[in-house]
Assembly symmetry: C2
Homo-oligomer: 101 residues x 2
DNA sequence: TAGGTATTTAGGTAATTCCCTAAATTTGTG
DNA sequence: CACAAATTTAGGGAATTACCTAAATACCTA
């Protein structure tokens, strides 16, 4: 639990938004572009980039930052990299702030 | 509750350290330099700057950033400005992350 | 193997953050 | 009022972050 790294990974509006969107992909992304196993795998880079209105490389880097901080989980499947939230880490963060910060 | 503003105010190692130190001023600052009502008022800018090993203006600005985000509470008394933690806001942050992030 | 799609890596400019010194302000005191 | 102590404001250089385009890589499929 690298608190500073986690906090930095969240200290950007777009990255916070991505975390929100991934809470409920079906509410935030066009259904036809979601993989059939989205709840399990998450959403792929280019769909997130489109939603964010930013370039794919920028968003790819954001997602990598958040998964390095262990806040997102990446799954490579074929040519796609899917990202989903790491709910455990998010809860651990909340607990850490509550009890230790 | 401006989540992004709060997170940004915490996204720096020195500022995180300050928050830690203020959890227990008697454990982190020389007793003789603490005000007699430190638990109530907190610790003054120059003592925090000394502990941080940074210039007073830099730390003054850090403290202002954190109190603007409502994570610290500032109290001016005479020529000193004392800062203490806003425990309520810190708990609110934890709860927000747990339930809403 | 050739070509297409998705992603990542490289490299660069602009914006923001870090953190300093100097100057200005606030408050207390003789 | 004059001076001293604590803090804040201004201003600036260095480092980091934001976010882009171009190029490279990975993987699929004919």
């Amino acid at each position: 639990m690298e608190l500073l790294e986690i906090i930095k990974s969240l200290s950007n509006e777009t990255r916070l938004n991505i975390l929100e969107w991934l809470k409920d992909p079906f509410a935030h992304f066009p259904e036809e572009e979601l993989s059939q196993d989205t709840p399990e795998l998450g959403v792929c880079v280019s769909d997130i980039a489109k939603k964010a209105g930013m370039s794919v490389p920028t968003v790819s880097d954001y997602l990598k930052t958040m998964s390095s901080a262990n806040i997102l989980i990446a799954t490579r499947k074929g040519q796609w990299t899917y990202y989903k939230r790491n709910e455990k880490s998010i809860q651990d963060l909340a607990t850490h702030i509550k009890d230790k910060l």
